[in-house]
């Protein structure tokens, strides 16, 4: 490693640093500042103190909307952690066996990952349609009357989670697979000779060895589920239909800041307060979680 002229260094670093400063750091500070202002339409109209924050946290109906949306984000996160990542782990293990056709399966499971959330959302909305949706047509073939998936308060959120599952499972699956492929073949062979079944192998041998990959996947799942926007936006609309049953923080923030079809109004003050709270929450939880997960890697590794 060597030192070079400061001018050359500045030339190399400046474009990236400036772009980040102007398009990330500065707007973030701006979001923070806006949260302390009242807005008259789209222009600031005086200092608001903390009341934008206290409104969205403690004043009904905002507070009810905020916590309802947060609750839904938590449900989404839990579901994706268990079902999506669990499924991904099993698929990765199945692919690790390198049975005939495994390369094709690898390509297939990853295919939806490259599609945009807008396409996936519209597609599943049509598949789940109560009158001509394929899902209910298949259920009817085995004499089950399917519910209006996106219309029922009970099934709407799970339906969007299902679409997410279809869209994203391939991603953690192939990350797990890559991590599993790094495990020395002898380690697995030795365990097998000791009589370890697949179940034991998955739980005791492989799981600790893919801990770093798990850390990444868990963190991405967390950030992804709390930034959820496109899929519920396309499938349930800005109001989180029905009646807020699918409302999540991303939709709620957008609706508050920019207004909805004809009934909502723009409200940058409350919108910015929400953005600041969400950002603080994401940063706090992910930094604590990362520390814990790293320690876990050391402990079980």
């Amino acid at each position: 490693m060597r030192s070079v002229s400061p001018l050359w260094l500045a030339f190399l670093l400046a474009p990236a640093a400036l772009t980040m400063l102007v398009f990330v750091a500065w707007p973030l500070l701006g979001a923070f500042r806006y949260a302390f202002f009242d807005f008259n339409g789209l222009a600031t109209a005086g200092f608001a103190g903390l009341h934008n924050f206290t409104d969205v946290l403690f004043e009904p109906p905002w507070s009810a909307w905020t916590f309802q949306a947060l609750r839904h984000n938590i449900v989404v996160f839990a579901a994706l952690m268990i079902v999506q990542n669990g499924l991904a782990y099993l698929i990765a293990f199945a692919l690790l066996k390198a049975l005939p056709g495994h390369r094709l399966h690898q390509v297939i499971v990853f295919l939806p990952v490259v599609l945009s959330a807008v396409i996936v959302g519209f597609l599943w909305k049509l598949l789940l349609h109560p009158l001509f949706g394929v899902v209910n047509a298949l259920l009817a073939a085995i004499h089950i009357q399917g519910p209006p998936w996106l219309g029922d308060a009970e099934t709407a959120l799970p339906s969007i989670i299902l679409a997410n599952l279809w869209h994203w499972t391939g991603f953690p699956a192939l990350i797990f697979l890559a991590a599993m492929q790094r495990i020395p073949a002898e380690t697995l062979e030795a365990a097998r000779l000791d009589g370890a079944t697949d179940g034991v192998l998955l739980r005791r041998i492989i799981w600790p060895l893919v801990a770093p990959a798990a850390t990444i996947i868990f963190t991405l799942t967390f950030i992804g589920s709390f930034n959820w926007f496109e899929l519920p936006y396309v499938m349930a609309g800005l109001s989180g239909a029905p009646g807020g049953a699918t409302d999540v923080l991303g939709l709620y923030f957008y609706r508050t800041a920019f207004g909805s079809v004809s009934s909502g109004l723009q409200d940058f003050g409350h919108g910015s307060a929400l953005a600041v709270l969400m950002f603080a929450f994401l940063a706090a939880v992910s930094s604590v979680a990362l520390r814990l997960l790293r320690r876990r890697e050391v402990d079980i590794g």
Binding site: P15, L115, F132, A178
Partner: protein, 274 residues
């Protein structure tokens, strides 16, 4: 070895089931693109009666599909190109040179990985407006560059650090300038990492809906995901056309993926496993 064969069979069954789950929606989408509303109502599962091309024709005749497609290509290509140039320069400085505050700077860049930029959409908008970049391609491109820099720098510094120094030293002894070392010696070596960083950013930029939604308003500039919502609104009672629109929108990236599946998978997952 009977147990082995049994478990292999079970695993094949699991994979087949999964493949069915993954492919059925895509097949239904493709087939429904050739159906009329009446057919869709009557039997959503059946094959189209006549493979009518009317829906596809409607898309080409009454929407700006090709324009949106071209815009998406342009925006994605420009963003990835600028991003790679900026990221390579910065990563090279932080990976190969010693200077004070280097680790802190790297950490600051990487902190960007955690920032959900969507939440800063309002001030970002005001910012772009102030720079006169609202409703323009360069504005959107710069936002994408800023969004992609942390992950690209993450991948590239890791890779550049691991490169051996001999070639570089040899060139310097021969009197090559620093710029020449970077351009002629190191850059060709960094190619695999550049491809990974490129694909990792190209896919989300290609698919992005949120930023064009807010930053681009002129119809002439709209990207494919955004354009898709436009004709989803215009033909909202013509489901066959909707399926055709979805199929056409999914087609370009699906084809790229099938042709380059290895690179796509590596590009999108490797950043995470490093």
């Amino acid at each position: 070895m009977k147990a082995d064969r049994l478990s292999a069979g079970l695993i094949q069954a699991l994979l087949l089931l999964n493949a069915l789950f993954m492919l059925t929606p895509i097949a239904v989408m493709g087939l429904s693109a050739f159906k009329t509303n009446a057919e869709l109502f009557a039997s959503p599962m059946a094959l189209p009666e006549a493979f009518s091309l009317d829906n596809l024709r409607t898309i080409f005749r009454e929407t700006s599909f090709l324009l949106y497609l071209g815009n998406s290509v342009l925006i994605t290509a420009a963003s990835v190109a600028v991003l790679l140039v900026f990221a390579t320069m910065a990563s090279y400085a932080m990976a190969r040179y010693a200077f004070r505050g280097r680790e802190t700077l790297l950490l600051l860049f990487l902190a960007g990985l955690m920032v959900p930029l969507k939440l800063a959409i309002i001030p970002l908008f005001v910012q772009l407006d102030w720079l006169g970049l609202i409703d323009s391609r360069p504005g959107l491109v710069l936002v994408y560059v800023a969004m992609g820099l942390p992950s690209a720098i993450f991948i590239l510094t890791g890779f550049l650090r691991a490169l051996p120094g001999e070639l570089e030293e040899a060139a310097r002894i021969e009197g090559a300038s620093e710029a020449r070392v970077l351009w002629q010696i190191m850059l060709p070596l960094a190619r695999p990492a550049l491809i990974i960083a490129g694909i990792q950013n190209a896919v989300p930029i290609w698919n992005d809906f949120f930023f064009p939604l807010v930053f681009l308003t002129t119809d002439r500039l709209k990207t494919l995901p955004q354009g898709l919502t436009v004709f989803m609104g215009e033909f909202n009672t013509d489901w066959g056309v909707l399926f055709a629109g979805l199929t056409l929108s999914a087609l370009p990236i699906t084809l790229c993926y099938i042709l380059l599946s290895k690179q796509f998978i590596a590009g999108l997952t490797q950043g995470a496993v490093k």
